[in-house]
Each structure stands twice: as structure tokens, then as C-alpha cells.
């Protein structure tokens, strides 16, 4: 059964199907949160929030909409809610990386690309994380972030340029 068919069953009351969707996708969502926040414990809580919100909003789901885009939009909203509740800066307000702040690498792998990505602005890191999943096309990423498809393409280019700079000059 496809993700969309499973979620349609959930929206009609077959709640157990949400378990199958969790099995398929919670790793990706956890990965997204961890790479955005660098906090395993927070990311675990946020994953749980995502699926609770998915169940609560099950009546809003339409089978024509790709499930992965829908669940990641909920994930993005959970992350924004977390930032707001903690009175942290939003993704748009984070300053791009200019210099030499230290990032804790305790929780992440130490490949060079990962090091370089951790030094990008949140906006750039987010768009690269989302577009690396094959199921998420520019169109879905645009809806998740809340910008146009052209905007996503432009952000990806900008993020890759930043990443290349950090990767080549710093790492």
C-alpha cells in the first residue's frame, strides 16, 4: 500500500495504519530535526509531536497530496513552533556563517561534508537537507518552506555555493 493510501485509511479511522507510516518515515524526520537542532532528545520529542499532529489533523489530508511533503510540512511547523516557544531566532533570522564559531560535533558523524553543513545558515542547511530526499521534489520543498519553486532552486544554488566555500576553505 502506498503512503497516500495508508494515510487515507488513517483519515477514515484506521489509526493502526499510522504505525506503518511511522515505521517508514520517522528516521528521515528524526534526521532532519537532528541536523537542524543538533539535539537528539529534542528531536525525539519533535518526531513524536509530528505524528501526534498528523493524527489530530488527519481529516485535512487529501490523497492527491504526496504524503512525504505533507508530513514534512508538519515537521517544519513543529520546528517553527519550538523556536517560537523557546523565543529562539527563526530560520529566517539566523545570520549566515561568517567566521569562526565552534560547533559541537558530539552527536554527529565527523565527515567533512557534515562539518561543512553544520556551519551553514539554518536556511541553507534546511533546503539542502530537504532536497537530498529523492521523494521531495522542489515543488514539495517549496510548499514545506513556504516559498516558490524558483525560490527553492535559488536557495539551493546559494546554499551549495556557501557549502563549497566552507568545504574548500575551512574544512
Amino acid at each position: 500500500m502506498t503512503d497516500e493510501e495508508l494515510m487515507e485509511k488513517v483519515s477514515h479511522g484506521d489509526l493502526a495504519r499510522l504505525g506503518e507510516l511511522f515505521e517508514r518515515h520517522h528516521h528521515k524526520i528524526f534526521d532532519y530535526f537532528t541536523r537542524m537542532t543538533n539535539d537528539h532528545s529534542l528531536s525525539s520529542d519533535l518526531v513524536q509531536n509530528v505524528f501526534e499532529k498528523a493524527l489530530k489533523g488527519k481529516h485535512t489530508y487529501k490523497i492527491e497530496y504526496p504524503f512525504i511533503g505533507w508530513i514534512f510540512r508538519i515537521a517544519k511547523n513543529c520546528l517553527m513552533d519550538h523556536y517560537r516557544s523557546r523565543k529562539m531566532k527563526t530560520v529566517e533570522e539566523i545570520e549566515p556563517y561568517h567566521g569562526s564559531y565552534e560547533i559541537s560535533m558530539d552527536h554527529l558523524d565527523t565527515s567533512n561534508i557534515e562539518k561543512a553543513m553544520s556551519r551553514l545558515s539554518e536556511e541553507s542547511r534546511e533546503v539542502l537537507l530537504l532536497t537530498r530526499y529523492e521523494e521531495l521534489k522542489y515543488k514539495e520543498v517549496a510548499e514545506i518552506i513556504g516559498i516558490s519553486e524558483t525560490g527553492v532552486k535559488s536557495r539551493v544554488h546559494r546554499a551549495l555555493k556557501q557549502l563549497k566555500e566552507v568545504y574548500v576553505n575551512v574544512i
Binding site: 504505525g19 520517522h26 537528539h40 528531536s43 551549495l160 563549497k164
Partner: protein, 255 residues
């Protein structure tokens, strides 16, 4: 003069955003220049690196936490359905009780009326045919059909035609509420073999969880091997809601 190749074009090429012919032309030009070739190689490496980052593994407690929560949600859903059923059954029971009181009142009234003074005119109760009693079966209104079930319930035991009509309503009525009322009415006479068979066959075709649960609870009351086997087969069906299967399993343990 050769057009200058921009970094944006290199990125588009590395990302695979160009069509085949444009990509081929651009790649040929890039390969002619060492600096551009190195830039393309760097971007290709960086993009490959971002796509092949391993997923960070969630801690082992993430799944059990989700499973506990989902189990609770499913249990809450079942309780809510049960509460809705109880409210509806309470309505049916009050309606039945009211009908019984009215019937008793009418009976007493006619009985004492029969012993009255001779010069009173005795009105015989009109003889109503079974067809007339079952006039409600094909009406549009579900409320009318439910009222019809309540009115004919008293004749189930005495009249096979009415019994069979109610079994048919239980299996085929388009309204789940009407089918539920039929189950409730028939459950009073569940020791009747035909009604038992009717319940078992209704369970095989019923799709509405609240009606399924009513049939299950009626069958549980039978405490018979035949009913138990039917419930066990029911649990094996694919398209039954998990909380309904749980109700059946619980019922089997009580049998």
C-alpha cells in the same frame, strides 16, 4: 567571443538541472578550462556528499514511545465508540420501555373495558396483518424504520414472518442505526436457531464497527461453540478494524 560560463551554470550542470543537449554543450566547454573543470568536480563532490549523508539513527526509545501513544489513541477511539453505542442503546431502551408501558396501559384499558356495563359499545381491536405490521420496511425515513422495529419487536417470537423480516433488515438496511436497532430487537430472542444463524451471517457482511460490536456482544451471550468459531473466523478477516477484533477476542475469553 566565447560566452563566459558562470558559477550558477556549473551548479546547474552538477545538479542535473539542464536538459541533455544543453548539458552536453556546457560540459564540453567546461572541460576545456582547468579552473572550470575543477569547479565542476568540487560541486559534484559536494552534491554527492550531501545526498549520501547517512541518516542519524533515532534513539531506541522513540518507537516504543510512539507505539504506547498510538495504542492509547486506538483504545480511546474504541471507548468513544462504545460510549456512543451506549447512548444510542439507552435511547432504544427508553423507547422500548415507553412502548411497553403504553402497551400495558392499552391492555389494562381494554381488559377493564371488557368488564364494563353492557350498554357500553365494545370496540374490538382491529386485526392487523403481518404485511401491515411490516409496512415500514421500505420507507425512506430511518427513524420510521427504527420505530417500526420497536413496534414489531413483540411479535418476533410468535411470528416467523416478522422474525425473518427483522433478520433481513439487520443484514441489508442501508442505515447502520436501523441495522443496530434490528440487532437489539433480535437479541432478545437469540436462543431461536434461525436468529442465531442470522446473526452469524450478518457478522460476515457487516462493515460498520458499531453494528459489528453489537452482533459480537449478542453472540457472546450465546456461549455456544458455533458462535465462538464464527468469532474466531471473524478475527482472521483482513478488513476489520483492530479495535473491533479486540472486542471479539475479549468476547471469546468470556464465552
Amino acid at each position: 567571443m566565447r560566452k563566459k560560463i558562470t558559477e550558477a551554470q556549473i551548479i546547474s550542470l552538477a545538479l542535473g538541472e539542464l536538459n541533455d543537449s544543453d548539458a552536453e554543450v556546457l560540459r564540453r566547454e567546461v572541460m576545456k578550462d582547468d579552473e572550470l573543470r575543477n569547479l565542476l568536480q568540487t560541486y559534484t563532490e559536494v552534491i554527492k556528499g550531501t545526498k549520501s549523508l547517512p541518516e542519524v539513527e533515532p534513539p531506541s526509545m522513540v518507537k516504543p514511545r510512539f507505539d504506547d501513544w498510538l495504542g492509547q489513541e486506538i483504545s480511546n477511539q474504541r471507548d468513544q465508540l462504545g460510549a456512543n453505542k451506549i447512548s444510542y442503546l439507552r435511547f432504544i431502551k427508553y423507547a422500548v420501555a415507553a412502548s411497553v408501558f403504553i402497551a400495558i396501559g392499552l391492555f389494562i384499558g381494554t381488559k377493564f373495558g371488557e368488564n364494563a356495563v353492557d350498554d357500553q359499545i365494545v370496540v374490538n381491536e382491529p386485526i392487523v396483518s403481518n404485511e401491515a405490521r411490516l409496512h415500514w420496511v421500505d420507507t425512506e425515513s430511518a427513524t420510521t424504520r427504527i420505530k417500526g422495529i420497536l413496534e414489531t419487536e413483540a411479535y418476533i417470537e410468535a411470528d416467523p414472518l416478522i422474525r425473518d423480516a427483522l433478520i433481513s433488515v439487520m443484514r441489508k438496511d442501508k442505515s447502520a442505526n436501523v441495522r443496530l436497532a434490528a440487532v437489539e430487537a433480535l437479541s432478545i430472542y437469540v436462543q431461536d436457531e434461525v436468529i442465531k444463524e442470522g446473526l452469524i451471517s450478518a457478522l460476515k457482511v457487516e462493515k460498520e464497527p458499531i453494528v459489528q460490536i453489537a452482533i459480537i456482544n449478542t453472540m457472546v451471550g450465546l456461549k455456544e461453540d458455533g458462535a465462538k468459531i464464527s468469532l474466531e473466523e471473524f478475527i482472521e478477516s483482513d478488513d476489520i478494524q483492530p479495535f473491533v477484533k479486540d472486542e471479539a477476542r475479549l468476547g471469546i475469553t468470556r464465552m
